[in-house]
């Protein structure tokens, strides 16, 4: 093994001058190789981490004319009518919040219920199959949720509420909630698993049933994980494009009821890029991009604080 030569040859006296020089040369080459490899790895890391800055930089570069040309007030207004030179993105920001909020409203209680079921409220032997189902759900492509929703759920909504086209806030929220459910469940589950290992025996010795352990011992201890799951689920819902684009209807307006059509920041970007338009419309999508970037970055920083206390990095599973 080459590596054995790395150690200084203790206890050996150099037999001749040339042998000593050869050994020093080998040593130097090994050292150099170490340095080169470390340099390559560092370079790769710098590229990976620099890509975040590159993304932010490009968004900022293309959004910059908004500030230099004084379009900020126009972009931050409530009207999107590109043919009348009105390029406000606030309706889309509101749409993103409404949709993500509604999807969380459905998915979070479901996720809590499922995790509770797996950790003491339901029979123990069902825990494995439930987690298997959740892991399977992570593998379903977003576009397939959208596709099935267009074919199946949209007509159902249209049939139930004849005044709606079916492409609505409600439809998108229901579909989206399915997509973010595994994220929420896996995060809560990781936290409960950790707490469970610590307290199960103690609680059982005190006479708690598994259900009581979960509700009165584990739930308070896992509260950080519950918050983290809510925050991460919300940011996943905000970041989704395809479901919103396919089933939310995409009318740039502030929704007044669950049956109204709605447009999110993400689908706004996709729509404007697809329908080639003016430079000011382009500015508005880079502004939308900056808003999205800011919100998800803020979410991640929050999560970092929440997780640094108790949840291990294994909790962030996709």
């Amino acid at each position: 093994m080459e590596g054995l030569n790395y150690l200084p040859m203790l206890g050996q006296t150099p037999s001749s001058h040339t042998a000593e020089a050869g050994r020093q040369g080998r040593w130097r080459r090994l050292e150099q190789r170490q340095a080169v490899i470390k340099g390559i790895l560092l370079g790769a890391t710098l590229i990976s981490c620099g890509s975040v800055l590159a993304i932010l930089g490009f968004l900022a570069y293309f959004a910059a004319p908004i500030f230099s040309q004084g379009h900020l007030a126009e972009i931050l207004s409530w009207e999107w009518r590109p043919f009348q030179e009105k390029f406000g993105v606030l309706p889309m920001a509101a749409g993103s919040l409404c949709l993500a909020g509604a999807a969380m409203g459905v998915a979070y209680p479901l996720g809590l219920g499922l995790c509770g079921f797996a950790h003491g409220l339901g029979p123990r032997f069902l825990k494995g199959p439930i987690m298997g189902l959740i892991h399977f759900m992570t593998s379903i492509p977003t576009v397939i949720y959208g596709f099935v929703s267009v074919i199946f759920l949209v007509p159902v909504v249209r049939g139930t509420f004849p005044e709606s086209t079916g492409y609505s806030w409600l439809t998108a929220a229901l579909t989206l909630s399915l997509m973010i459910l595994p994220t929420i469940v896996l995060l809560i589950q990781a936290q409960l698993q950790q707490v469970d290992a610590r307290v199960r025996l103690a609680a059982a010795a005190l006479g708690f049933s598994p259900a009581q352990t979960l509700l009165w011992v584990m739930r308070p201890l896992a509260s950080r994980g519950l918050w983290a799951a809510a925050v991460l689920g919300f940011s996943r819902a905000l970041g989704d494009t395809i479901i919103a684009l396919m089933v939310a209807g995409n009318a740039p307006q502030i929704p007044h009821s669950l049956l109204d059509s709605i447009r999110t920041l993400t689908s706004h970007i996709a729509l404007v890029v697809a329908t080639d338009s003016t430079s000011q419309a382009y500015q508005s999508i880079f502004a939308s991009g900056l808003i999205l970037f800011g919100v998800t970055a803020a979410v991640n920083l929050t999560l970092r604080r929440l997780q640094s206390a108790t949840v291990p990095s294994a909790g962030r599973h996709d």
Binding site: Q34, S139, T266
Partner: protein, 296 residues
């Protein structure tokens, strides 16, 4: 009172399970029934003879073959870009980085993981706008651009999985090689990487699955509905997820809709196989090192 709350919670959890299970079964049943009907060679190749289509001598008009080839090309190309970068960064973060640099690098990786996929697409789109304005006026969205943006999308998963797999190895193993006189890199390359192999491989498979299913990135970076087989890395191409997306909005006939179901089923089988494989590898990896009874 306590009994009542416990009972309510239990009832609610059963309800949540029933609802989820019901929806997923309905969903899969719907997809399965409509999709299995159409699953045949004609779904892939339309009226073209399969062999002529595979060798590319005749174009395929009414099949999903070009979309399948496009997706495979996209996934291979983006893996080619992302896997070396991701593994190298993961190794660096696990074994070389320290102190505040490590904190900053990890923060950057986490931020990258949190960026919505549409922004990766927008980044690619902006890159092309930028190139058009500056040095390459004829630049246009293409397969290579999509692969690059997808690589950015899956990069954080690769880095985190590699880093976690390497860091979760027991300390004895990390020190054994060094104490025998291995250089740090020899120790990593000959001892630690093989030992963490399954964990890292599961990360790679997960990344491939994510790249195969994503639609938002390619939507902005060069996928089109009718390109035929990809002509080269600088050409337009078709992809399965986009094909499904397109058919959901634009299907003009029952036959096209049925094709959408077929394509959806194929894509689902692909990603499900990949994700399940990754999950299996990861769980065997974790188990092996938890019990410490199996070294590799």
């Amino acid at each position: 009172m306590i009994k009542r709350i416990t009972f309510l919670a239990q009832a609610f959890s059963w309800l949540a399970l029933a609802a989820t299970l019901g929806i997923i079964l309905l969903f899969l049943g719907f997809l399965g029934v409509r999709g299995l009907d159409i699953l045949s060679l004609a779904l892939f190749f339309g009226n073209t003879p399969p062999w002529e289509a595979i060798t590319g001598r005749l174009p395929v008009w009414h099949g999903i073959w070009p979309a399948c080839v496009g997706t495979v090309a996209l996934v291979l190309l983006s893996s080619l870009l992302a896997v070396p970068l991701g593994l190298a960064s993961g190794i660096y973060l696990a074994h070389y980085a320290s102190g505040s640099w490590k904190r900053w690098f990890s923060l950057a990786v986490e931020l990258l993981a949190g960026i919505p996929s549409i922004l990766m697409g927008l980044f690619g789109f902006a890159l092309i706008l930028f190139l058009k304005r500056t040095i390459v006026p004829q630049a246009n969205t293409c397969l290579l651009l999509s692969a690059g943006c997808l690589a950015l999308l899956v990069l954080p998963y690769l880095i985190l999985m590699t880093q976690t797999a390497l860091e979760s190895l027991p300390d004895e193993l990390k020190l054994a090689g060094l104490s025998l006189g291995f250089t740090p890199w020899q120790n990593i390359f000959h001892v630690l990487l093989p030992a963490a192999g399954r964990g890292i491989l599961s990360g790679v498979i997960l990344a491939v699955g994510r790249a195969a299913e994503d639609t938002a990135v390619i939507l902005l970076t060069g996928v089109v509905a009718n390109a035929g087989l990809p002509s080269g890395i600088l050409g337009k191409y078709e992809a399965l997820p986009f094909h499904i997306f397109y058919l959901a909005a634009e299907a003009r006939s029952e036959a096209e809709l049925a094709q959408g179901f077929g394509a959806a089923l194929i894509l689902l089988m692909l990603t499900a196989a990949l994700f399940m494989g990754a999950y299996y590898l990861k769980s065997t990896f974790t188990k092996a090192w938890d019990h410490k009874d199996l070294l590799i």
